[in-house]
Amino acid sequence: MASGLDDHRKGAVVSDMVSDAARPPVAEIERSRILARFAVFDFCFRNLTRAAAIAVLVILGGVILSLVYGSLPAIRAYGFGFLTSQAWNPVTDNFGAAAPVYGTVMTSAIAMLVAVPVGIGIAIFLTELCPYPLRRPIGAAIELLAGIPSIIYGIWGLFVLAPFLQQHVEPILIAACGDIPVLSTLFAGPPYGIGVLTAGSILAIMVLPFIASISRDVFETVPPMLKEAAFGIGCTTWEVMRNVVIPHTRVGVLGGVMLGLGRALGETMAVTFVIGNAHKIAGSLLAPGTTISATIANEFTEAVGDLYTSALIELGLILFLITFIVLACARFMLMRVERRSGG
C-alpha cells in the first residue's frame, strides 16, 4: 500500500509539472511547497512510529542488560554455586538462590494445581452451561478478579485468608495426613498461617481469571460443526468437552496455563505479605518460606553493601529468565491457535 500511495503522489506531481506550464508560477511553488511539507512530515511520522516500535525492543534489551550488569559482582563472587546454595547471610556476604527459587516454584505449583482445573471448569461453564443472559456478566465478573491490584490480595490474604487457614484448614490437614508417608512431611505442623501453602492459595485465586478467560476464548474457536456432530451422535456435554473441544484446543489451553504460570512466578506483593520471608527450604508446606520476588521486595531497600544488592539483582535476573521462557512458550502456543482460527 505504501508504494501504491507513493506512486500515486509522484504521478500527481509529474502531471502538475506538465500542465503547470500554463499556470502562474506562484501557485506551482506554493503547491510543491505544501507537497514537500507533506512528504517531510510523512517521513518524520513514519520514522517516529518505527522508533517507538524499536523502543519496545530496547526496553526489553535494557531490562536484560541492566540486570546482567547489576548482577555481575554476585556472578563473579559465587558463580554457578549461587543457584544451589541455600545460604543467605548478609553479615558474612554469603548468598545462594536455592531457597527463593524453591519457594517460587513450590508456590506456583500449588497455585497451578488449584487454578488449572477450576479455571477450565469455569471456561466450560461459560461456553456450554451458563444461561445466555448471564454469560457476559459472569465472564466480566471473573475478569474483574484479575483487575484487583495484587497489594489488595496481599492485605486480604494476611488478615483474612491466613488466620482462616491457620485455625480451620491447617489443623485438619495436619491431623488427616499424620499417618500417610509423603503427605505427613508436606503437612507437618505447627500451623503458622503464613507460609508456602497460604501463598500458593492466594496465587491460585490470582491466576484463576487468566486461565479461565483464555480457556474460554480458545474454546470459542472450536467450529460449531465439530460440536454439533458430536452432540448429534448422542454425546453428553461432558463427553463433547472431553473428547472434542479439549483435544481440539489443547495447545491454546496449555498456552493459557503457561501464561497463568508466568504470572504466578513473578507475582510479588500478594506473596510478600503471606510467605513469611524465611530463607530456608522446609519440607512442610505449612512452614514459612520465601520466593524470589518476595525476597527482593522485602530486602532490596535495606540491602547494604554491593554484594548484597548484586545478589538480589541476580535473583531478579533468574526470575526474569524463568518467566521469559515460560511466557515465550505461552505466546508461541497461543500464536499457533490464533493462526489456525484466523486462517
Binding site: 540486570l67 547489576g70 474483574l144 491490584p149 495484587s150
Partner: protein, 279 residues
C-alpha cells in the same frame, strides 16, 4: 446400571463440578470485596483526604499518598501512552506485514505479563543508582515501562479493526499516509485507544512492586519529583505490616479506595469498548 445411565451420571457430576468451580471463582470476588468494604468503610472520613500520613498513634489521613499516586500515575501514563500509541501505530499501519512488527508483537506480549518487580530493578539500576537517591520521577518512569505494553497492544488491535476501505478512501483523496492515520485511523479507533489508556491507568494505579525501590515512600507532603514520593500502594504495604492499629485501619481504607478506583476504571474501559463494538 445401564451404560447410558452411567454416562448420564458422569455428565451430571462433571457439569456439576463446573458450576461449583464458577461459584468458587465468583465467591472469592464477593468475599474480597465484602471484606474490603467492611474493613475500609469504618476508617473512611473526611480526614483521609485532607490529612497527611500520621506517625503511629496519632490521627491522620492519606493525602500525600493519594497525591503521590496520582502524580506518578499521570506522569507515567503521559510518558508511556504516547510511546505505546506510536509503536502500535507502526505495527498496524506502516509495518503491518514487516518482520519487525512480528518481533515487537511477540516481545510486547511478554513484557505485558513480565514481573513488575523486575521493572523496578531495571529502573533502579538505570536511574536510581545513577542519581544516587530515590525519586518520584524514577517511580513514574517505572510505571511508564508498565504502561507501554498495554497501550501498544490495544492501539494495534484497534487500528487493525479500522476497515481498509476507510484508508483507501483517504488515500484516494491524495492524503499522505501520516494524515490518513492521524485524521482517519485515530478518529475511527478513538474509543478503543482510550480504552487501552484507561486499562493502563487501572493497571499501574495499584502497582506496588516497581515503586518500592524507585519512588520509595515519604511520610510528608512532597511535590518534588526529584525526592522520594509516597504512593497509596506502598503506604498500604507499610501500614498493613505494622503492629499499629490506626495504621492498619488506614491501610484498609486505602485498599478500599484503590480497589474501587481501579475497578471503576476497568468497568468504564469495558463499557467503552462494548460501545464501540456494538456500533
Amino acid at each position: 446400571m445401564s451404560p447410558y445411565a452411567a454416562r448420564r451420571r458422569r455428565n451430571a457430576i462433571a457439569t456439576g463440578l463446573c458450576w461449583v468451580a464458577t461459584a468458587f471463582g465468583l465467591g472469592w470476588l464477593v468475599l474480597i470485596l465484602a471484606v474490603l468494604v467492611w474493613e475500609g468503610v469504618r476508617g473512611l472520613s473526611f480526614d483521609v483526604f485532607t490529612q497527611m500520613t500520621p506517625p503511629p498513634g496519632s490521627n491522620g489521613g492519606l493525602l500525600n499518598a493519594i497525591a503521590g499516586s496520582l502524580a506518578m500515575t499521570i506522569l507515567g501514563v503521559a510518558i508511556g501512552a504516547p510511546l505505546g500509541m506510536l509503536a502500535g501505530t507502526y505495527m498496524a499501519e506502516y509495518g503491518r506485514y514487516s518482520k519487525l512488527t512480528l518481533i515487537v508483537r511477540f516481545i510486547n506480549d511478554i513484557l505485558l505479563s513480565a514481573p513488575s518487580i523486575v521493572v523496578g530493578l531495571f529502573i533502579y539500576t538505570v536511574f536510581v543508582a545513577r542519581m544516587g537517591h530515590f525519586s518520584g520521577i524514577s517511580g513514574a518512569v517505572a510505571l511508564a515501562v508498565l504502561v507501554v505494553p498495554v497501550v501498544v497492544r490495544t492501539t494495534e488491535d484497534m487500528l487493525l479493526l479500522v476497515p481498509g476501505p476507510l484508508r483507501e478512501a483517504a488515500a484516494a483523496l491524495g492524503l499522505p499516509r501520516s494524515h490518513m492515520i492521524l485524521r482517519v485511523g485515530y478518529r475511527a479507533a478513538k474509543a478503543g485507544i482510550i480504552t487501552g489508556v484507561l486499562l493502563a491507568v487501572a493497571r499501574v494505579l495499584g502497582e506496588t512492586a516497581p515503586l518500592l525501590f524507585t519512588a520509595l515512600n515519604n511520610q510528608f507532603w512532597s511535590a518534588n519529583l526529584d525526592a522520594p514520593m509516597a504512593s497509596l500502594p506502598v503506604v498500604i504495604f507499610q501500614f498493613a505490616l505494622s503492629p499499629y492499629k490506626d495504621w492498619r485501619q488506614l491501610a484498609w481504607t486505602g485498599a478500599l479506595l484503590i480497589t474501587f478506583t481501579v475497578l471503576a476504571l476497568s468497568i468504564t474501559a469495558r463499557a467503552l469498548s462494548r460501545l464501540r463494538t456494538s456500533k
